[in-house]
């Protein structure tokens, strides 16, 4: 399913034969993502307690290059919603505004760990981040890219459901202060709020069947590319 080249699945492909709701279908995608994450080496080391400070710094380093793009593709998506999709445009503008400083939090954590802000800023995206950003910018450039709600479901979900767990585990294993995991802990609150906003949209009746299929498809692609970004640290 992740090998499909089309970014917009056909309705026939995307319709759930059991007639599951959009949230239920996204829940399935989330479970696939969890399976992938369980196989990501750095997360495995985090889980079994062998993760190192260097691992954590590499993770921040790799995430930063993509976090920079986050509010940019959301803002681009906002600019491509026409007046008939005003609610989605408003939500995207608000979301982009809230996220466009997130990389400063990450940078502060990186510096608090002894890393160099200059080196961090001079970094480039890894192959997974390249693919993820490329996909998201392309998608955001289309008219009314409502499918991106699926991308947000995955990315915000990671922030809301996993980032704080990761932060707590890094703190536990490496003996870190709150000031050194601020980026990840912040996302539990912020993305929790975003997830709530998004679920309201997803269940509002604004989403027709064809759009629902696009959202699910986009979520599948983003879930795979996000995991790829975590697998391809520094490459």
């Amino acid at each position: 399913m992740t090998s499909a080249t089309s970014t917009v699945p056909s309705t026939a492909d995307g319709t759930d034969p059991a007639g599951a709701s959009l949230l239920e279908r996204l829940g399935e995608v989330w479970l696939e993502l969890e399976d992938h994450l369980a196989r990501v080496p750095v997360l495995q080391r985090l889980d079994d307690g062998t993760v190192t400070l260097e691992d954590y710094m590499r993770l921040l380093f790799n995430l930063r290059q993509q976090v920079i793009d986050g509010s940019l593709w959301i803002a681009r998506a906002a600019s491509n919603f026409d007046i008939d999709h005003f609610e989605l445009r408003a939500a995207a503008i608000k979301h982009a505004e809230e996220e466009h400083r997130d990389h400063f939090l990450l940078e502060a954590d990186y510096v608090a760990l002894g890393g160099s802000r200059e080196e961090l800023r001079a970094g480039r995206k890894n192959v997974g981040s390249e693919a993820l950003s490329g996909y998201l910018f392309t998608y955001a450039s289309k008219p009314n890219p409502a499918g991106l709600l699926g991308a947000m479901f995955i990315i915000e979900g990671l922030g809301a459901r996993r980032a704080a767990q990761w932060a707590a585990r890094f703190q536990e294993v490496l003996g870190l202060a709150d000031n050194q995991v601020h980026f990840m802990t912040y996302h539990q609150e912020a993305d929790g709020a975003h997830t709530g906003d998004m679920e309201a949209i997803l269940t509002s009746g604004l989403i027709d069947d064809a759009t629902a299929d696009e959202i699910v498809r986009c979520a599948q692609v983003v879930a795979r590319l996000y995991a790829l970004q975590l697998e391809e640290l520094d490459r």
Partner: protein, 380 residues
């Protein structure tokens, strides 16, 4: 809930200027070889037990280095010991009784000479316990996660003001002589980080406690004032400099009659740490206590013995007799030597104790020796 990092001492350095100076060499550098002064010197040296010390003075008694130079050399030694550069530091806290200049702060001068990059500074002032105040500041910021790495240096160069020319023109009593034959020059430094050293032992800072009893005690060690109480118009800043000199206000004085009270108060503070459970007397592997004279060593040791009958002198480390009393720097100079000579084993605890006579301050810290924690299965 707030989670803090831990703070570890990972690098140790010291600098002692010039060759060791024995008791006979003191008068050559400081002067004061008249019969009365010589007799006082002899009696002070007999009780303090100091056999040799270092001065940043040449054989004629002329200064050879600045206090800030001593500090930078000790810092560089600590950075070398850790294998890092000044540019790796994000904070520097300094302690000294008197910097080379009145303004600006000592830390600013040391940073300027040390180099490195932008960093947070603190100039802790005071006397002996100011080194522990400086350590506490860096340890606290490292624990908060504000800085990954900082350094602390305590540096003293009192010898310049202990020379004969400062003692002429007024009658110098015991209060003015006491410290003259006690104090000498030197600097000690430590590196503080939020992670232990990757490949060798580190000292984890478990806690630092500092308390002043100035509310209950008059000034004991002082310079820059007349008499033993401050009053408007009675400090060196209020009068003509020549008058201040003539009044002996630039001499460092100690009210020796108060020192028994100081020892007693210090022991009471230690007892309190035991009472509240910070010090576990069953697990007191090393004690490094700063004291100015062996008389107080015996008083302090006897007091500890009452709590820990099994405490033997082997667990007690001091290098007062060979490195002299370098004020705020003494505790780090002693810690560095204990560290370098391999006294510590993983799991052991170290109690640092610094009583300060200035106006009755006491600082204690507990360190635990930790092994390197390079995890197995680390990333490639």
């Amino acid at each position: 809930m707030t989670t803090t990092a831990r703070a570890y001492l990972t690098g140790f350095g010291r600098y002692l200027p010039g060759p060791p100076v024995d008791n006979d060499g003191m008068a050559a550098r400081l002067g004061g070889d008249d019969a009365v002064t010589a007799r006082i010197r002899g009696s002070i040296l007999a009780s303090n037990g100091i056999r040799q010390r270092h001065y940043a003075l040449d054989e004629q008694g002329e200064p050879t280095e600045l206090n800030e130079e001593l500090a930078v050399k000790a810092l560089n030694a600590a950075l070398d010991d850790r294998g890092i550069q000044p540019s790796d530091l994000r904070m520097l806290a300094t302690a000294t009784t008197m910097g080379d200049v009145l303004v600006p702060g000592f830390a600013n001068m040391v940073h300027g000479r040390l180099g490195g990059g932008p960093m947070q500074l603190l100039s802790a002032s005071g006397v002996c316990a100011s080194s522990m105040a400086a350590l506490d500041a860096v340890v606290s910021k490292v624990r908060l996660g504000d800085h990954p790495r900082g350094a602390v240096v305590a540096s003293e160069l009192p010898s310049r003001s202990l020379r004969q020319r400062r003692y002429e023109g007024f009658r110098a009593g015991m209060d003015a002589h006491f410290l003259r034959w006690m104090l000498s020059d030197g600097a000690g430094a430590v590196v503080v980080e939020f992670q232990p050293h990757p490949t060798r032992l580190s000292l984890r800072v478990d806690w630092i406690r500092q308390v002043s009893l100035a509310h209950d005690h008059a000034v004991c060690m002082r310079a820059g004032m007349s008499g033993d109480e401050t009053h408007v118009g009675g400090t060196w800043q209020d009068v003509a400099l020549a008058d201040a000199q003539a009044a002996g206000m630039f001499v460092l004085r100690q009210d020796v009659g108060m020192l028994d009270d100081l020892a007693e108060a210090g022991i009471a503070q230690f007892e309190e740490l035991v009472d509240i459970g910070l010090v576990d007397v069953r697990h007191l592997d090393h004690v490094i206590c700063h004291y100015s004279t062996n008389v107080f060593r015996d008083v302090a040791f006897d007091a500890l013995r009452r709590r820990v009958p099994s405490l033997d002198t082997d667990r007690w480390f001091s290098n007062l007799e060979t490195r002299g009393n370098t004020g705020s720097a003494s505790i780090f100079i002693a810690l560095e030597e204990a560290w370098r000579t391999g006294r510590f084993e993983p799991g052991e605890t170290i109690l640092l104790a610094v009583p300060e006579s200035g106006r009755f301050s006491f600082a204690f810290a507990q360190l635990t020796v930790v092994a390197p924690t390079r995890p197995q299965g680390a990333s490639s």
